[in-house]
Symmetry: D3
Subunit: 248 residues, 6 copies
């Protein structure tokens, strides 16, 4: 069961309200890498994770993300609430849709659960979570660069920090399953091609080697060829037969 | 520049064509965890990754995923091509839309690039890639369980295997950046809250401890409280004033 | 700031788990009329509503809807968790995506914030909320009819009940603004056409009269005609000129 | 059966064409609160409403909304048709997609029927309609504020007026069903919790009281607690067991 | 300005109501190839087509498509209205969402204006229209095969017929512009590669020749090679440098 | 099976990098008329086209479109890579999402397979392809007009040229089936209404005549009337009965 207190997790104090920056902040309210994506991803995962300790962790973090969503929303509110007569304000979506946050990204695209990556296995879920946090962190860094004032920067730095904290938690949980650096998981045994690296994008100069395609972990196939056969050649109709068939 | 040969990367031989299984296979043709998502994710990432060796790896793997997409499509083609008069076939989307693969998932939802997670930083990209592979692997395992014939199983096992291979490559590349087990990346220094774990979903019995919230890596906050203040209380209008204001 | 306790708002006890009913329940987890839509609608509205008393009400109800979302999710979890080898289970989306709830509707369509109706004015918001509750109530009634067991029915009846409770709250709040039965609101004065009813779908027999088109509230226009003019006739090119122009 | 005459319902005379305002107008052509949403909502509802008098009203209003859509389209056409060489024009979507209206909102997002709220019950439908009109009215007010010329303002004021007219019609129809101020409808009897108000977003200062949570209509629960039980504690594996299980 | 009469363009008499077929019919109500797509495509095009004669044709056909949409809706209404207690009915989306048509396709996916292809040039529009009609015709043929009764078949055959009629009109209009069999249009002169055919999907056996790649219209390039250069080789960091850079 | 070489099909040399133009170019990377739409349309069609010669053509062209996608991506990369500190750059989506191409259109909307038109019949597919090429060509012309430098213009002209080349190929293939100027195809015989033209959008002045509605190909119906009957008049309840029924 959910509860709420009216105080923010951390105060947000915008000193230089700019609606255009408010619109960019929507990326973390209703965008792909935003707090709603994080909160709903971990929350939804928690229903099918059997291990109740990891389930607890997912719920703890999900709840925190909802509180972050609230902080981002309050920041957007402050960046937009005074802007009504401002010319810059009039070029934002807030002029048409009203002040405060909306569930869209910085380009006005509606939030979709297609952003949410979850299902079937806790290893898959935790890897998805580390990826979600990396996307969130990346966007916060971009927003910090674009921030017009110190108050916004400070709040965004807190939010970025917590994404790193969560990444650390997810890494530790994944490591407790032995799956932080072991690629395989689940019940299907891989076949004999598991160590092959196929050099499919070719160029003498630019074909690079590195730990991701070197022995002994990998066998490098420098010039891969199809192992399948070509489809049998169907006798093609000539054009007269084509016309006859299409006219049927 | 792209090239194509008509032979498949590996032959696909469906022995027991079942349109309903064909519809499930759409999950890996036009679904969230499918080959199109993988191919386009790595391909799009390759444009902004500065390190040309990792760029090469992303392109090699992207091209392989396109070849996997082709295999999945050919499998769907075989599962649907003879089904026209079959009653089971008539309950599938192929009865309305025609045989062969379509760019939708097993529930008929259109593919969207909202599935693609990329941008701005190679660490973020590689973490997204490991997550993408985990999702793909998970779906392949589910499909193998549902497979009606050995030919389908064999092809799906090859495809699952390659997802593990790619995961290994991405892990090795991430490790070469020192970021497989280091949560932080980028240019913003985290603040002092980076080690706090907030126990926000509470229950005496179920509040679990584990490597993801234990000392010394983490400081466990058993009963977190807001650090922000409550909004100031605005004097609320009584109902008469409410009506007057709303009637303006 | 958000908090969570692990106990449900009300227990959910599924006695006859059926994955196909579980899939229908997704309509209220990730569907248009579901609890996520309700929670996020009221929550997002609360950021721009100036009247802090109504803001408080919106937040109270939003938090309750999150707890309802949790109940629905737990119900889906129970309807799917034992089904793995079941044939009926295999025709559901859970066979491909794993047990437990996902953020899609009963047809597998991703949740989108396009379902959320909010912005700019508290009267608009409250009317949207009454509509949202009516949709939710309607779906719960449909699901109750389809429920396989008494435990599911009981939980769904509680959830339906609370939608009525919320409707009552929203109506009372709207009435406190004088806007439950007054169509106008906002700052623009309507023009002189405000009382016209245009009989635009015509049939001697079926043109019905009722309180929505009768005097004195309305002036009934039995056979409406355009008040605008036709566009000026542009001299059309003959076909030779058409070709010349298109070939440019 | 549909018919059309080339004259507009009301003339639209744009005196100061501005492509950027034309883009904002898209909100009412292909946006969530726009005329297409209204027209298709009422039209789709009319198929399942059993009461043929209300069905007639829904069709009358739907047809009017199509005529409004035409007016909005013509307004956009005028705001964009002369702009080709204009620098301001070049920052609009019309520069890439051509002049005249497109079925997207002011942010370029495609229209989706996810905006349409309908189904199963006439009370639900009418409440949805009042909400749809409120959204449309709100957007028209925002656009009137942003209008560059008197001709646009006049046409928009007419369109806003008609939304109020329709709201009045829907309210009267809902009242004829006794459901304008009665929250319940349908065939399921609410349970005993119907009058409870849960104070779930808490703060001593800001917990407000009003007609929406006062006696006798409501019983105010100042400090709600879960009525459900916590899930049973599953014995969690230690990390060694976690690894073993995940490696299977 | 739009008008409506309550009689259908052509009667629809369903003799064997089957909700499952009703769900398939949704493909032409709210699906990609459906009547809404057709109506809104031609309608939206009509705003920017300068030639008022072709504009008139687009409007005539658009209005007819709205009348077809009505017929399809009425057919769905009949296929679903008696089904409430039927077991087959309960496996359809109508069981959850109510009887009658909804703005989704046969798989439950919301209609989106992404289906609409229009903008900028009448040749482009007319080619899009011929394609739209071809899709609609194809789906009608599939539905006729699946029809359970003669009344449905007859109505669907009328609707299919009219798609052919419209195709003929669009072809004649395109031919009046000289663009039915001339690929080029618009103001940009093609470069010297316009006649090259690149054999990019290769196989000795299956590389086919036909009017689409034969002389004199085309010059066949049997083994195409890149004309661009490879990107310059960036000196790649070794792994130590990678780590250092990523840790910044 | 797919292969790739690192050289571009044709070099792209941007001389005047402008991030705002880069954002417009997204229309052809991740937009409706873009190269991804083309590539995936032809590729998906190739799976169900029975005639292996036309299948080969579809694959040849699909592969070329992937190479065009690469060129567009490289152009966007160049237009954005140096922009980081630029003020104009900061108003683009690249400031938030990073440099290089993303799978969205110029308005930031995610690519969706709803853009892809294919299925069931080769005539339908080829007509869809001619439409797809027309849309692509139109957008390229718009972009050429907006291009800031000669290098961009040259690359875009090449891409536009190839759309015309492909159109020519598709026309020739369609003509080889006898279906370039014959509206009918498939197995259902049209009914007797096939030659009727309905003048449904009326105006004495503007009702135009042309090859698309003239004899002998068409019979012009100047004032069409419904051929169906009105629905039977249902006895409507008075308001008291309405209330009683709704209160049930």
């Amino acid at each position: 069961m959910f509860f709420h207190r009216k105080q923010l997790m951390l105060d947000v104090k915008v000193e230089d309200p700019q609606a255009q920056f408010g619109q960019m902040l929507l990326e973390q309210f209703g965008g792909a890498t935003g707090e709603l994506t994080a909160a709903l991803t971990y929350w939804t995962q928690s229903f099918h994770v059997e291990d109740s300790a990891i389930r607890d962790m997912l719920q703890d973090i999900a709840i925190e993300e909802f509180s972050h969503l609230e902080m981002v929303g309050r920041m957007i509110e402050q960046h937009t609430e005074k802007g009504d007569k401002d010319k810059a304000y009039k070029s934002t979506l807030f002029a048409v849709r009203g002040i405060g946050p909306h569930l869209v990204d910085s380009q006005g695209q509606a939030w979709t659960s297609a952003y949410v990556n979850e299902g079937g296995n806790v290893v898959r879920d935790l890897r998805a979570d580390i990826a979600a946090e990396a996307g969130a962190r990346q966007t916060y860094e971009a927003l910090i660069k674009l921030s017009p004032d110190a108050g916004s920067k400070e709040a965004l730095t807190f939010l970025l920090t917590r994404e790193i904290s969560h990444t650390n938690m997810f890494m530790k949980a994944l490591d407790s399953l032995g799956k932080l650096d072991d690629p395989a998981f689940g019940h299907v045994r891989p076949d004999e091609t598991v160590n092959l690296y196929f050099n499919l994008s070719q160029d003498g100069q630019l074909d690079a080697r590195g730990p991701w395609n070197e022995e002994p972990a990998f066998e490098y196939v420098a010039d891969p060829a199809p192992r399948g056969q070509a489809p049998e050649k169907v006798k093609n109709p000539d054009d007269e037969h084509r016309k006859a068939r299409a006219a049927e």
